[in-house]
Symmetry: C2
Subunit: 327 residues, 2 copies
Amino acid sequence: MGMDRHLLERIREHVREAHRMLLISHVAPDGDAIGSLLGLGLLLREQGKDLTLACEDSVPEVYTWLPNSAEIVRQGTGPYDLIISLDCSDVRRMGTVFHPGLAGVPLVNIDHHVTNTRFGAVNWVDPSSVATTQMIVQLAEGMGWPLTPPVADCLLTGLVTDTRSFRTYNVDVAAMRAVLHLMEAGAELNEITRRSLDQRPLASVRLWGQAIEQLDTDGEIMWTEVTRSMRQRWGLGENSDSGLANFLSGVRGSKVVIVFTERDDGIIDVGMRSVPGYDVATVALKLGGGGHPQAAGCTLEGDLPAVQARVLDEVKQSLAATRLEEP
Amino acid sequence: MGMDRHLLERIREHVREAHRMLLISHVAPDGDAIGSLLGLGLLLREQGKDLTLACEDSVPEVYTWLPNSAEIVRQGTGPYDLIISLDCSDVRRMGTVFHPGLAGVPLVNIDHHVTNTRFGAVNWVDPSSVATTQMIVQLAEGMGWPLTPPVADCLLTGLVTDTRSFRTYNVDVAAMRAVLHLMEAGAELNEITRRSLDQRPLASVRLWGQAIEQLDTDGEIMWTEVTRSMRQRWGLGENSDSGLANFLSGVRGSKVVIVFTERDDGIIDVGMRSVPGYDVATVALKLGGGGHPQAAGCTLEGDLPAVQARVLDEVKQSLAATRLEEP
């Protein structure tokens, strides 16, 4: 274990020479984006660094309890002499926070996505980590920075949310060691799990009930939809179906689960989940999206039935191709 | 950490002198009952012991993949010179496996329930453990018994299921150390979580959808029911709503969640969940059941509306009393 010594030294050098840093996490932030941004922010501030924490989109309500979450801004007001991007697999994921005026500033790219395009001056990409916050645990260890309870809470949040409470396929001994390390440092696992994953408004559960009622299947594919009118019925805003695709991915017998969500602007968000051996990232990529082999997504314009037909067609082709490849 | 030295020595002595052992787990077995039974069984067999694994009820399908699960019998065929009860809080929990003919046989009682009645010749009761299998990890360590991958799978199953994938309030550093220890010994966390917690038949998910549709609330209490006719509609047997109460306990705003399940024989199973500060074990105990403060249950005769009225009345009284006690 332990991170690459050469990379560690390069990051150490960049951090030492920096006077004003900009830390950026990705658009539509999740627990790992917010957790790594706040966790590394606290660690660097304890080292006396002057820094801005930025993310194009606002912090989802379930993460606002994390320390300093109110400090995250939608846009930095430079100048900066170092940028650290967190959990961003490519430049676009930084959104409008990364504007042309920042082009000359050295950028340290810290990310765990296998699809990372290595867009930084320094690129530390570790797909064996289950979350970017797991990498920050390693970084703190390498740097000799102590983990305080607030830092530990932020970092454990990334591990808990990216693994949906340790249930994804990549959770290994190294990930569990990081979890134990963070709990020993004072992170409150139960608080984190309850606040980030388990608390749902009643209306949102009722929406799930309706979406389950409308489940459709075709062979090994199962899908459902969340429309604007369904959300209106329960008085819910966008993103109120988060977690539905994961929940449905546990249904026995289906290889691929798809949730079609009609956004307020009419565009369709397509969330896909699959069992190992069936790669939905390839389909998502083909449709202009991306993700992990077992959890991917894309965004498509058009009316719901047309989008559904197009996606189902692609998934069926992909399932057929996978079957051909089997020995 | 580490178990009481005196207790360890007494158990060591009993095990050393025993030639034919009967291991018993509780009726209506869960993952901790099956995991501790199979895990300790494998450990003792590796020590060359002759033993019978017994449980009055059959192994739930989600645990049949665990090693040696087919070896569990519904009734031992003695004679035995040692009984070890696992995860049983009182004599009744052993069911018909513990019959009068066994009354003279020394019994080692290993359990993590705070309500344990200490019915054994040796009683090792540790409510600080999240599962009985966590105690078996300690026992193996104390005894110097190596943890093989099959043993580790059985023991991790108890920790995963009793904590619902590490989300209950009692998951602490000691529990997480046991988890890491078992993963280092070769336990496959993902396989265990997927098979024991996340895999649901489509019909069962559809039943959940219907139960969600019928959710009822009264102040801080939320409840729903699973009737025989609902199960018939989806072609499901008893116990097909397992997990529903836990799922609903995440709904924001409710302090107590109750699921009323009409069994095939017409008797009503009452499953209750509560947020910390609200104790449902007391209510369950009053109604002839039992459990933990945040997860308890009882079984009542009568028609569904009458049982619902009775339970709701008790819960309301209990909530009112709790409120009076608040500072």
